[in-house]
């Protein structure tokens, strides 16, 4: 039996529920919008640690008896029944405690979890991840993080001399659209004095997203003319073209190693295959919106996820 927790009709969650039904994997759905009616208790056994019990519509579930849980919860502050409540409203305080307890349990649960909230924090720094990525055997983009405009200009000139452009993007997990550095950016470069900013030599090549689940990989090839394929339609007027593809065993192994190094059972790894044969890794997403890829390629990502959560052993 597995738990699927999140907004039930959000595509990644809905796809996991559908896959569990298709695959005959016993599952319990906790629709996060029902949090106010749900019960949760944590009991500390002095020898075993915490045990959790979730109560949904009168049904009590001993969470440690499950085989796994897919947890894709939204920030409870923005739930429709919470967002307009006063800070000290009892309902808001209960919602905070309920979610904190559930997430705490996910961090320590003795079952398969995709993903433990603690492990997902690595995504708060791309440069933190970059060091792990490098150690796992991937190439990383040549990067400068600085608050010094002169250093940026020297970096841009150096890249330009070798025929390369420079892009800039957030260091943190804040969603930002990758931008190419242009002449207009020179005029506002003094603003980086307030905060170090990340600049990268633009890597040419074809994007690939690899979803890792346990030790299985699903690779998607992405063709797009945009700087950031997620915004391809906005930037170029054409959607990115996604196709399922195979990835060489050597790189598959490195993807699995990277996900393990980040303690992520389920990860979306962003790669770019360069014309020179390098495999450059940008980041590992700890809460991949895999439904976008599965709906365009028919790769059975959700099926693999629920089977892994159900305890299915994987080859390799």
């Amino acid at each position: 039996m597995i738990l699927i927790a999140g907004i039930a009709d959000e595509p990644p969650v809905a796809m996991a529920i559908e896959a569990a039904e298709e695959c005959g994997v016993g599952h319990i759905v906790f629709d996060q919008r029902d949090h106010a009616e749900a019960g949760l208790s944590l009991a500390l056994d002095p020898l075993e640690g915490w045990r959790a019990r979730l109560t949904l519509q009168g049904r009590e579930i001993e969470l440690h008896r499950l085989t796994g849980a897919y947890v894709r919860l939204m920030d409870e502050r923005f739930l429709p029944d919470v967002r307009d409540l006063a800070e000290d409203a009892p309902e808001r305080q209960r919602a905070i405690r309920f979610h904190r307890m559930l997430l705490e349990w996910c961090n320590i649960a003795p079952i398969r979890i995709a993903n433990r909230p603690r492990a997902m924090l690595s995504n708060t720094s791309k440069t933190f991840q970059a060091e792990l990525i490098r150690r796992c055997g991937f190439a990383i983009p040549e990067t400068l993080v600085t608050n010094d405009p002169d250093a940026v200009l020297a970096f841009v000139e150096n890249c330009a001399a070798e025929g390369d452009e420079v892009i800039y993007k957030s260091i943190s997990g804040a969603r930002s659209i990758v931008q190419t550095f242009t002449a207009a950016d020179r005029e506002r470069l003094h603003r980086i004095r307030w905060c170090p900013t990340q600049f990268q030599r633009k890597v040419r090549g074809t994007d690939m997203r690899v979803h890792v689940i346990g030790n299985r990989c699903f690779a998607t090839n992405i063709e797009s003319k945009a700087t950031d394929y997620r915004y391809s339609a906005r930037e170029t007027g054409e959607d990115a073209e996604l196709t399922a593809t195979a990835i060489a065993p050597e790189w598959e192994g490195r993807c699995i190693r990277l996900a393990a190094a980040l303690d992520l059972s389920f990860a979306g790894i962003d790669l770019r295959m360069t014309p020179g044969g390098e495999v450059v890794c940008f980041e590992a997403n700890p809460s991949p919106a895999y439904s976008y890829y599965q709906s365009r390629t028919d790769a059975p990502i959700a099926q693999a996820l629920v089977r892994w959560l159900a305890g299915e052993a994987q080859a390799g």
Binding site: G39, L40, S41, L42, A43, L44, D45, P46, L47, E48, G49, W50, R94, A95, R97, F98, M101, E104, W105, N107, I108, R118, L121, S122, T124, S125, K126, T127, F128, Q129, A130, E131, R134, F138, A139, I140, E142, T143, L144, V145, T146, N147, D148, A151, S170, I171, S172, G173, A174, R193, W194, C195, P196, T197
Partner: protein, 239 residues
């Protein structure tokens, strides 16, 4: 050079600086997070082959981190005063970027760092009270039976304040502090492994043959570990 990154009023850091200066043949400098963050030139380069970083401070002092042989990291909060006039949304974004930069930069240092940063806390791995009690139980340290539900008020699960028990330090599998039996030594080391910190301060209370877990932190008060802890730290820095 050994660099201690800590706030100006950090007494354990100042004490450690004095102790290390007596024992090490290299300079031991104390730098505040504000001095780092407000440096007019911060450079971090990352590439497949490796990285490098350097800071030029307002007083003209330059730090090339290739020449730093060890770092004591005690960054507990971000200096954000310079963002005070920015709009709230921009402040939040910049604070996130600054945290991300410091996390990535500290994690990239090639020299020994006590403690390396963790995504949840720049000063090193941090665990909530719930998680700490779980790790303690699994390591064989006792905790009182508890029952929590979302209606419970936010009562503390661990004892407030220091001085209620015995203080141990675990540094790279070495236990420093009061003598304990083998079973509890192994428990304390296993607990530190679970916590994930290279240097961990753990407080316990002995009662009825059992060792009860009180609290732990990866931001130690080195003074409580005395010369044995200082000696162990000097060995980490390989001097």
């Amino acid at each position: 050079m050994i660099l201690i990154i800590a706030d100006q009023g950090d007494l354990p850091a100042q004490w450690l600086q004095a102790m290390l200066r007596q024992r090490l043949p290299v300079p031991v400098e104390l730098l505040s997070p504000a001095q780092l963050v407000y440096a007019p030139a911060i450079i971090q380069r990352l590439a497949t082959e490796g990285g490098q970083s350097g800071f030029r401070l307002w007083n003209g002092v330059q730090f090339d981190f290739a020449s730093v042989s060890g770092v004591i990291n005690r960054i507990t909060s971000l200096p954000l005063e310079h963002l005070g006039r920015a709009e709230q949304g921009d402040q939040g974004y910049a604070a996130g970027e600054l945290h991300a930069f410091l996390l990535g930069w500290l994690a990239s240092l090639e020299c020994p760092v006590l403690n390396p940063p963790a995504p949840e806390w720049l000063a090193g791995p941090w665990h909530s009270e719930i998680s700490a009690l779980h790790l303690a139980a699994q390591a064989g340290l006792r905790g009182e039976a508890r029952l929590l539900d979302p209606s419970s008020e936010g009562a503390r699960l661990l004892v407030d304040g220091a001085g209620a028990g015995e203080v141990h330090f675990v540094l790279d599998d070495q236990l420093i502090g009061p003598v304990v039996d083998v079973r509890h030594r192994d428990s304390l080391i296993a607990f530190a492994h679970g916590w994930g910190a290279r240097l961990l301060q753990v407080e316990t209370r002995k009662e009825g043959g059992e060792r009860w877990f009180l609290r732990a932190t990866s931001l130690p008060d080195y003074r409580l570990g005395g010369s044995a802890l200082v000696h162990a730290i000097t060995r980490v820095f390989g001097t």
